[in-house]
Amino acid sequence: MSGAENNIHLHEMFHIAGGNFTNAGSISSQVKKILKEAGFSSRVIRRTSIATFEAEMNVICYASRGNLSLFITPDFLKIVVEDEGIGIPDVDLAMQEGYSTASERIHELGFGAGMGLSNIKNNTDGMILTSKFGQGTHLEFLISLEGEDKSVPLLNAGG
């Protein structure tokens, strides 16, 4: 992994406050802005924004607090989301479309279709979800940059 780690040209970390619906979506829009300014293709921006939005919303909906980190390397984007909170007792069940433990209040705000994790899966090129019930959840996913224009300035900076 050390070879790949040396090639990280951007690493940013964002804090997510659980239960803070007022700023919901702000981290995924910041990530989107970074990728837009870096010049990535609309496909990469769309897929990353969707997956990041869903990951951010899950921390807001279900956890106490979390951090979302964005890594940009020449070959892929990687997002790591770690949270402290109730965790997920059955990860396979949580991954199923339509499965949701969202409260009535969360539903009214437009969340709780049970589609978030499968949207992440369908818009990324690899996803790992692990959780310790009662402690927290670790989610990471990759977006491949294969076929992307390698003249994206961020990928050349500092190399």
Binding site: S28, M57, H107, G110, A113, G114, M115, N119, N122
Partner: protein, 114 residues
Amino acid sequence: MTVSDIVKSFGLKIRAGKNRLDEEVRGGYTGDLLSDVIAHSRKGNIWVTIQTHPNIVAVATMKELAGIILTGGREPDSETLRKAEEEGMPILVSSLLAFELTGKLYQMGISGMG
């Protein structure tokens, strides 16, 4: 058919994105759960919803939808309007309820398939 044609046909109120109304509408989606809309809407769809908070703009922009119609006379939050102007996303308001408006859009030739 464009967003503007829909505005005229149903007397919708334009709340944001008035410069983007010539966008071609290809199909539509009706729903209030954002992840469901993310999963099932398609590029160019017109989106019928009762949600009024700023994340509807984030979802519509990510999915490259043609515009958002709020039903039942619901008005967008002020932050939603600010974001919609920034992104150039049309936000329209109809006094009809979702089922009624969706049916009329369908009759007009806008199908569920993008």
